[in-house]
């Protein structure tokens, strides 16, 4: 019954999306106020129905209802509760249902909360949101029904991939989806604004908090995903330039550019056409990402739940949405009035540079990700790996960080070159001194790592400048947000550069009791013991590590090799000890005929800064969001009178 109810809710939600689009379109065309007034409640009910449908799917997973095909193929009755729960989105159909649910809830949230847009633009925005949703409902209902029955019912189910059985990963996809799909809102806002031709600061201020919110989720999702890959895969790396990672990075890059350009539009009424274009690009990137992840077109280590036959459906959706938006853009952009002008040496100019560099990085990542597909279409097997991305995008990313040191110090509209030189003296000096010191102490490290460390130090100092010597209570919250986010970039960059430059690695065939050395540590494998968990059994290494004198304090590390019976899989669980100045990372391999165990050890100085910085970036976004929303509250009254 529950499955049928879920499917029915999904059908109703789809019908309401159609209705929503029709009412918005007809209402605006015929100028019928009754129709227009009904669009918001319909959007809200559509969101609730989609959420109900998803909730029922989760219920089926929690109950381990093996008469449902999706549950039988992706869950197991003996699985811990958390992973039954997460199993609902750890597969193709469930994750697409989550996708459309987030999309519909975003539409509902706009209908419920949005108070800045004029009525026509809001209606057009909700119409666009419904238009996107319809495609995904059609996709679910025709090609990937999550509620399909299995007859006869399975006895036990096939289980969830053990690599996905990790608390971090259980909540990783929803976070990422909130970001990914939340960006659809920017797209709908842009479409709405283009339909009603209201492309001004009001539109930008209305769109900004939504983009900020989506961007915060995306940042958290990417950071968490990176940490998951780092500790779960046991490869000791935090970014692999894998197509699936790029699929989330590309919308993030575009959204970061949009966040900055939307500020120019909101504050100075500049960059109108460009901001609209970015909003279209941002959503295109989440669609391209969805396509890459879901289609199985690429050889990716991270691609879960792929199905090539469904790729073409998403490709068609992609073509309709992006193509449609571009056509609308082409038809309307000529008539978008040019905004205010500005001097090149100004905050606006700095933000244009930021956008230019971000777009170029986005272009490189896009080319590197799609090139293998193009090559394949031309009959050539090819894969583009990390060396390409590091070499091509690295220098531009460093230039971007250099620009970040300067940008926030510039004044709006016009600034003076001499005044600017005075302001950047300190950060530039800090950068130079850091580079010189690092070079003297560490000697042979790569130039990118060296420059990265120097820029990280300079940016860390420069990011405080906008709040320096200001009354902290009277400094606006979004200025604090910018400071925290930019400081987070510096922290993250420092972690990346330190890890790439100073990591030490050992691979040994370890005998019990024999010491091995990695970084400042002396590591001993004392023994291996069996252990057991809720749905796995394991052998666990007892590894002790100490630095300094032999009788100093010991760290106990317990790397495991786990065996899951359903589906039958071996996994290695890395053991990681976190210290103030870095992490000691141990992976246990297999035992050989002589009784030695493969043991892989890393000492990774300051690697934790990477994710700590990511967290700061997200926190900065959240602070800005709070600041913007608070300020907007004060203007609500005026709006309510206007409706």
């Amino acid at each position: 019954m529950i499955a049928e109810a879920g499917l029915a809710a999904l059908w109703f939600a789809a019908a309401l999306a159609l209705l929503q689009l029709a009412m918005a379109g007809l209402g605006l065309w015929l100028k019928q106020d009754e129709l227009i007034a009904a669009v918001r409640p319909v959007a809200i009910v559509q969101g609730l129905l989609a959420a109900l449908s998803f909730g029922l799917l989760v219920t089926l997973f929690l109950q381990s209802d093996m008469s449902v095909l999706l549950v039988a193929t992706n869950s197991h009755s003996a699985k811990p509760l958390l992973y039954k729960f997460a199993g609902a989105w750890g597969n193709h159909e469930g994750s697409m249902l989550l996708w459309v649910t987030v999309l519909a809830l975003a539409g509902a949230a706009i209908g419920l909360i949005e108070r800045k847009l004029d009525r026509a633009t809001l209606t057009a925005t909700l119409g666009a949101q419904a238009f996107i949703a319809i495609g995904f409902y059609a996709f679910l209902l025709t090609a990937s029904n999550p509620f399909a029955r299995l007859s006869p019912a399975a006895a036990d189910g096939m289980g969830l991939n053990p690599l996905l059985q990790d608390p971090g990963l259980a909540f990783h996809p929803p976070t990422l989806y909130f970001g990914y799909v939340g960006l659809s809102i920017a797209f709908s806002f842009a479409v709405g604004a283009m339909v009603t031709r209201e492309v001004g600061p009001v539109f930008a201020r209305a769109m900004r908090p939504w983009v900020l919110a989506a961007w915060v989720f995306l940042t958290i999702g990417i950071t968490a995903g990176s940490y998951w890959a780092y500790y779960e895969l046991g490869w000791g790396g935090w970014w692999f330039w894998d197509p699936v990672e790029n699929a989330s990075l590309m919308p993030w890059l575009a959204a970061t550019a949009l966040l900055h350009s939307v500020n120019v539009l909101a504050a100075r009424d500049g960059l109108r056409a460009w901001t609209l274009m970015l909003a279209v690009v941002v959503f295109s990137m989440s669609m391209v990402g969805t396509f890459l992840v879901r289609s199985g077109i690429l050889t990716s280590v991270h691609a879960f739940a792929v199905d090539p036959t469904r790729g073409s459906f998403i490709l068609v959706l992609l073509a309709i949405y992006i193509g449609g938006a571009l056509v609308l853009y082409g038809a309307r952009v000529g008539r978008v009035k040019a905004g205010q002008g500005f001097d090149l040496l100004s905050r606006e100019g700095g933000l244009v540079l930021n956008n230019l560099l971000l777009s170029v990085i986005l272009g490189i990542v896009l080319i590197g990700t799609l090139y293998p597909i193009l090559a394949q279409a031309m009959g050539q097997q090819l894969s583009v790996g990390p060396p390409f991305f590091n070499k091509a995008a690295g220098p531009i990313a460093l230039a971007l960080v250099a620009a970040m040191m300067v940008g926030p110090l510039l004044k709006w509209r016009r600034d003076d070159a001499n005044a600017l030189l005075g302001k950047i003296t300190v950060p530039v000096a800090v950068s130079a001194v850091t580079m010189a010191l690092t070079f003297v102490i560490a000697g042979s490290i790569g130039w990118m790592e060296l420059v990265g460390l120097g820029l990280a130090a300079g940016l860390a100092v420069a990011s405080f400048a906008p709040v320096w010597k200001r009354n902290p209570l009277r400094t606006p919250m979004f200025t604090w947000g910018m400071m925290v986010a930019h400081f987070g970039v510096a922290v993250s960059l420092a972690g990346m550069a330190a890890d790439s430059a100073f990591t030490s690695e050992r691979l040994v065939a370890a005998r019990y009791g024999q010491p091995y050395y990695v970084g400042p540590y002396r590591v001993v494998l004392n023994g291996v013991a069996p252990t057991i968990g809720e749905n796995w059994s394991a052998v666990e290494g007892r590894v002790t590590a100490s630095r300094g004198p032999v009788d100093g304090p010991m760290i106990l590390l317990r790397p495991q090799r786990r065996f899951y019976s359903s589906p039958p899989t071996d996994t290695a669980e890395a053991a990681i000890a976190t210290r103030v100045d870095g992490q000691l990372y141990a992976v246990l391999g297999t035992q050989d005929a002589e009784g030695r165990w493969q043991l892989r050890l890393w000492w990774k100085p300051f690697v934790t800064l990477i994710w700590f910085g990511g967290g700061l970036i997200a926190l900065g976004g959240a602070l800005s969001l709070i600041g913007r929303v608070r300020r907007a509250r004060r203007n609500v009254k005026r709006w309510e009178e206007a409706w």
């Binding site: 193929t73 046991g234 170029v360 071996d570």
Partner: protein, 144 residues
């Protein structure tokens, strides 16, 4: 600066940035894009020795051997028609096993073998590299 000039300047700056990035990307592609080979590709055309490459296929059953040093392993990557011997030093990834799909990153050696610096096994136990799936019978899916 007049508005028109400013626009021209911005356009030029964008061109320079894009040009520079393209140059970077092209030069990086030229020496870093790793070519993907299947064993049958290796059999028909000789891959360049020592250049970064990826080799994808299935780990042949019964071919996995560990060397006396305890950290090096050897196995054979196969598709429907050909095989390539591979040597790898390190801890194999979780889902690496005989009869499963693998993508090895490394380079070809003069004697027709492959030295891997990294092994990619898929997260999904039902996975097979698409390039290989085309040349093999479909894997079983719902069989429990």
């Amino acid at each position: 600066m007049k508005r028109k000039h400013q626009r021209l300047f911005l356009g030029l700056a964008a061109l320079v940035a894009i040009g520079g990035a393209s140059a970077l990307a092209l030069s990086a592609l030229q020496d870093q894009a790793a070519f993907f080979y299947t064993p049958s590709d290796v059999a028909t055309g000789k891959p360049e020795i020592g250049k970064a490459a990826r080799l994808g296929g299935m780990v042949e059953k019964g071919s996995l051997k560990h060397l006396p040093d305890g950290v090096t392993m050897r196995f054979v990557v196969a598709d429907a028609t050909a095989t390539v011997p591979v040597q790898f030093k390190g801890v194999a990834p979780d889902l690496f096993k005989e009869g499963s799909g693998v993508v090895a990153e490394g380079s070809f050696t003069g004697d027709g073998g492959f030295v891997a610096t990294n092994l990619l096994a898929k997260h999904d136990e039902r996975y097979m590299p698409p390039e290989i799936a085309a040349k093999m019978p479909a894997p079983e899916t719902l069989t429990k």
